[in-house]
Structures are given as structure tokens and as C-alpha cells.
């Protein structure tokens, strides 16, 4: 199998730009996890990485492997679809759980804690 040193210049530049954009978007999203104040604000942060971050890095991988193997390598689409379909489900269940815990705590404030 040929390595990345066999890529023609235009493909190399395109791959590099997509990779850096995707990684930067993902990092900004994850930084939001640390910088935002409350739980409900923080849940918004990882969706940056799962939408645009994944799309850019998968596009970089598709360009790189399609050019190297001189045929259309499309299976990275699966990762994009996986990310876009599963993350909302996981986050919605998580927010539901958080709300349930919040209301359950508010319902019995005088209850003594276990520890």
C-alpha cells in the first residue's frame, strides 16, 4: 500500500486543510465543555465536534484514500451518518436523566443525604 508521500500536491493541500479545520472545530467544541458554566449549557458543546468536526475529518480521509487507491472510497460516510444520528439520541437521553435528577432533588430538599 502506498503512503501519503505519494499524494499529488492538490490532494495533499486539500487533506491538510480539511484535517486542520476539523480538528480545530472539535477542539473549540471540547473547550466549551470546560468554559461554559452550567450543565445545560455544556451539553451544547460536543455537538460541534460531532457535526462539522466529523464531516471535515471524514472528508479529509475520503480524499486521501480515494486518491491513493485511485477509486472512490466512500465508507467514511458511515462515520458521519453514525455521528449525526447517534449523538442527538445519547444527548437527549442524558438531558432527560439530568432533568429527572434535578426535579427529584428539588422534590425532597429536607431529606437527609446518605453520606
Amino acid at each position: 500500500m502506498k503512503g501519503i508521500e505519494h499524494l499529488p500536491p492538490w490532494a495533499a493541500v486539500l487533506t491538510a486543510v480539511f484535517l486542520l479545520t476539523g480538528a480545530a472545530v472539535t477542539l473549540i467544541g471540547s473547550l466549551g465543555l470546560l468554559r461554559l458554566g452550567t450543565f445545560y449549557e455544556r451539553v451544547h458543546a460536543p455537538t460541534l465536534g460531532t457535526t462539522l468536526g466529523t464531516v471535515f475529518i471524514a472528508a479529509a480521509s475520503m480524499i486521501c484514500f480515494s486518491v491513493l487507491q485511485t477509486r472512490a472510497v466512500l465508507h467514511e460516510i458511515l462515520i458521519v451518518v453514525l455521528g449525526i444520528v447517534t449523538t442527538p439520541i445519547a444527548l437527549t437521553i442524558l438531558v432527560g436523566a439530568a432533568r429527572f435528577r434535578d426535579t427529584a432533588e428539588r422534590a425532597q430538599p429536607a431529606e437527609p443525604q446518605d453520606k
Binding site: 480538528a23 472539535t26 465536534g49 479529509a60 484514500f65 455521528g83
Partner: protein, 93 residues
């Protein structure tokens, strides 16, 4: 020239994604409440999936794609299971 640029940007992209994984890990350690920790775990698994894709481009090894796919699936299943656990306190009803 462009090859050199690609090599460097691969290293930089890997470093950025590792920082992003660090952010997720920090949220798991800091997280004031359990749901924050689960959220940190979800972010960490997505970032790890992207890192695996990047490593795949760097080595030219197509096998990393399968690893990334498995990572994404396990991250999703893990997050859902943990969130369910927070909701009920037990996994199998």
C-alpha cells in the same frame, strides 16, 4: 513542499484532537455532578474516534477506519447505558 505541509498538519491535527480528549477527561475528573461526567465521556469517545481517523490517514492503513467505527458505536452505547443508569439506578428492568 505540499507533502511536508501535510505531514506537519497531520501532527498538528493530532495534537489538537489530543487536547480535545484532554478537555473531555478533565470534565470527567472535575464534573460536579454525574451527568457532567457522562457528558465528558461522550465527548471523549467522539474525539477518540476522530483521532483514530487521523492516525489512519497518517499511516495510510485502512484498518483504522474499522477501529474508529467500533469506537463510535461503543461510545454511543456506553453513553446511553450510563444515562439510563442515571435515570433509573439500574440498567436492566
Amino acid at each position: 513542499m505540499s507533502q511536508l505541509m501535510l505531514t506537519y498538519s497531520l501532527v498538528v491535527a493530532q495534537a489538537l484532537l489530543e487536547l480535545a480528549i484532554g478537555c473531555g477527561a478533565l470534565r470527567i475528573f472535575l464534573g460536579p455532578r454525574a451527568q457532567d461526567r457522562v457528558l465528558g465521556f461522550d465527548t471523549l469517545s467522539v474525539n477518540a474516534m476522530l483521532l483514530l481517523l487521523t492516525v489512519g490517514i497518517r499511516t495510510g492503513e485502512a484498518l483504522y477506519f474499522e477501529a474508529a467505527l467500533a469506537m463510535g458505536l461503543f461510545g454511543f452505547v456506553g453513553t446511553v447505558a450510563l444515562a439510563k443508569f442515571l435515570l433509573r439506578g439500574e440498567l436492566i428492568e
